[in-house]
């Protein structure tokens, strides 16, 4: 183990190096670029032995990864925003074909208007494409989830691609001290990729075929079941990771000061750190507030939510996303769990940080006030005005 001062992208690249992917397809887009630059340097200095392929588009980046995965190779690619949307067809292709590709996405706003800064509309708009989606908070978690994601994706019961989301700039370009595990420990954690879902000369296969109405539902049902089943694998992976590296993230969600909390804020990604500080401040004043970080959006952590929210009075969802014409997508998902489980509590949605708008400590304090006093359900933060529900 060594320590280094790394950006989120650098840390992710270290995680990728330790995972030893055999084929990497790269195409640049801000703010993902430095991760593919680091990886290129690693291949140059032989600290990473991998086929590095300079593809001509993000569609090709993922199509290439699918081809390599179909030969049984461990693969990696990375993208952001317009690139993620450009590869949309291949997102469904990779998950439907059950190819356990790991991809980093630097969360960034989507055009129009053009904007290179961080929000989560890119990945949240792709929530239904059959990928496991992880949102990480800091550089250490970035590195750790690069490794863990392969362990989850490649589990034969899961066999599903994983998208790891890092908030653009705020996380991808912010430097922190990070522990880099040794290759020996990484190898102990992550065995080489093995799969039956591949073409080989000994056992030729036809892959990525058509399935008509008579069998199609069965394929989709199995895909759904595998992602639901990945919840257990995600928890086992985290436990194994803790055993070897001494760091644990708690699986699908990570709670903070939830015991006896009446007012809970749900977060994802890098804003969580600041929210924790606000929770501490308010707790010092005797206010019963807590926080639940959603680490995985697919599979959706329904059981964790029920357990965490069961006795709360109100819950807020803070997200850098809006499903135009309705509300934040994470909020819709949270409300569905609450309705299905008959929980009786108020829910509020806080849309913030679109196009990289700063989310301040004051904003978060005001959000907790809103939870306590009640008010409008869907709120835009930092707009200086309200929008009627």
């Amino acid at each position: 183990m060594t320590k280094a001062f790394l950006s989120g992208n650098d840390a992710f690249a270290e995680g990728v190096r330790l995972a030893r992917p055999q084929v990497i397809s790269i195409y640049p887009i801000t703010p993902q670029t430095t991760v593919v630059e680091r990886i290129s340097e690693m291949v140059e200095d032989s600290s990473l032995k991998s086929e590095l392929i300079h593809v001509e588009s993000e569609h090709s980046a993922l199509s290439c990864a699918i081809g390599a995965s179909a030969m049984g190779a461990r693969t990696f690619t990375a993208t952001s925003s317009q690139g993620l949307l450009y590869m949309a067809e291949c997102l469904h292709y990779a998950s439907g074909g059950r190819f356990p590709i790991v991809m980093m996405n630097a969360n960034r706003s989507t055009a129009l208007p053009w904007n290179i800064y961080g929000d989560q509309r890119d990945s949240l708009s792709q929530l239904d494409c059959g990928w496991i989606q992880v949102y990480v908070e800091d550089a250490q978690e970035s590195l750790d989830m690069a490794l863990q994601s392969y362990h989850i994706a490649e589990n034969p019961l899961v066999s599903t691609p994983v998208m790891v989301n890092l908030d653009g700039f705020v996380l991808t370009h912010t430097y922190e001290t990070v522990e880099i595990p040794s290759q020996t420990d990484a190898d102990r954690f992550l065995p080489p990729f093995q799969t039956e879902n591949k073409m080989s000369l000994d056992n030729p296969k036809n892959l990525a075929f058509s399935v008509g109405p008579d069998n199609n539902m069965e394929f989709k049902y199995l895909q759904h079941k595998a992602i639901l089943g990945s919840k257990r694998i995600i928890e086992e992976t985290d436990a194994k990771f803790a055993e070897i590296f001494g760091r644990s993230y708690g699986g699908l969600t990570q709670g903070y000061r939830l015991d006896d909390a009446d007012y809970i804020l749900i977060t994802l990604g890098s804003i969580t750190g600041l929210c924790r500080e606000v929770v501490d401040e308010l707790r010092e004043r005797g206010e019963k507030v807590g926080l639940l970080k959603l680490r995985f959006l697919r599979p959706f952590p329904s059981d964790d939510l029920v357990a965490a929210l069961g006795s709360a009075k109100a819950v807020g969802v803070l997200e850098k996303d809006i499903s135009f014409g309705y509300e934040g997508t994470v909020y819709t998902n949270v409300n569905s769990v609450i309705a299905k489980n008959g929980l009786r509590l108020e829910t509020y949605n806080f849309i913030a940080g679109l196009g990289g708008r700063d989310i301040s400590r004051e904003n978060i304090t005001a959000i907790f006030r809103h939870l306590q006093t009640g008010g409008q359900h869907v709120n835009f933060i930092g707009l200086g005005m309200t929008i009627d529900d």
Partner: protein, 303 residues
């Protein structure tokens, strides 16, 4: 070259068998022959299009070699991944081959094809050209020739079918300074077989553009597929050529052309053409041949 594959020596094994292509389908013959030449160590990538649609209907899977459908645009990019992946897992002596239609190659897939050639990935890309988007019901592609009636270029009083000439994909590919590119036709299988064999032995990206008529889309009887492919060469609207080491070579140099009108009017898709339309095609053909004869080498042996 030793042990050339010929009609006599070609394997009896079938690699593309039991599929649902229409009777007389030229594309399926091109795929069948290509895989016979390449053999069981071929790993084929087929994009959306007729050949994947007729061959991969679970649980009825028709390729006995390793085969996978790619996205429509992704033949070449998936080939790149397959080739790199196969090497990465230690597979030796294999050939990653793309078998893509004209639309999948010249239109939506041209970006990925260009990228693969640029990287000189060790893949063979075969475009079977039936001159339209057949799988979706005969729509115009970038390789639909001037005058052809398709479902999106109908012929009527005002417009006589497709207004634009066929893209010159062979030379577009060659302009990448590719290791090897060739044109071929299922109307001349010995030549097609030779070129597949030759391409498969070259390291780096290779490309073969094979004309493969579609009786449904062309409006010809199902037993005239080969004949119409031959007529297309004989009347000079197609040519058999190679590009290698920066040089173009014409493999077959006909002394005179057969009737372009006869070739065109024997197909439903050209039935509406009047003499002025046909004259446009004849002028284009003559200009092309003048350039070919001026700039390209010719092979001595007649094929």
């Amino acid at each position: 070259m030793t042990n050339k594959i010929t009609a006599k020596t070609i394997t009896d094994s079938e690699f593309f068998y039991g599929h649902k292509a229409c009777a007389g389908c030229g594309g399926s013959l091109a795929v069948r022959i290509a895989l016979k030449v390449l053999g069981e160590r071929a790993i084929s990538v087929l994009p959306a299009g007729c050949m994947s649609a007729v061959g991969f209907n679970y649980p009825h899977l028709c390729f006995s070699n390793n085969s996978i459908i790619s996205t429509f645009a992704g033949t070449a990019s998936m080939l790149t991944g397959v080739e790199a992946g196969a090497r990465a897992v230690g597979i030796k002596n294999f050939k990653a081959v793309g078998l893509a239609g004209d639309g999948g190659t010249a239109d939506i897939g041209i970006q990925a094809l260009s990228g693969a050639i640029d990287r000189n990935d060790d893949i063979l890309y075969i475009c079977y050209d039936n001159e339209a988007y057949m799988n979706t019901g005969i729509q115009k592609s970038g390789l639909t020739p001037f005058g052809a009636k398709t479902t999106t270029t109908p012929s009527g009083e005002n417009i006589h079918g497709n207004l634009r000439p066929k893209k010159n994909l062979f030379e577009i590919v060659a302009a990448h300074n590719i290791s090897y590119a060739a044109t071929a036709s299922i109307g001349n299988l010995p030549d097609f077989i030779n070129k597949i064999e030759k391409a498969s032995k070259i390291k780096g990206t290779t490309y073969i553009h094979v004309v493969a008529p579609c009786p449904i889309g062309w409006g010809i009887p199902v037993n005239e597929t080969i004949e119409i492919a031959r007529k297309m060469i004989d009347c000079g609207l197609w040519y058999l050529a190679e590009y290698e080491n920066g040089q173009f070579t014409l493999n077959k140099n006909p002394r005179d052309f057969s009737s372009i009108k006869d070739y065109l009017l024997s197909q439903g898709r050209f039935k509406h053409l009047d003499d002025a339309d046909i004259e446009i095609l004849a002028v284009q053909r003559d200009a092309k041949w003048a350039a070919i004869q001026k700039n390209w080498n010719t092979t001595k042996e007649e094929l």
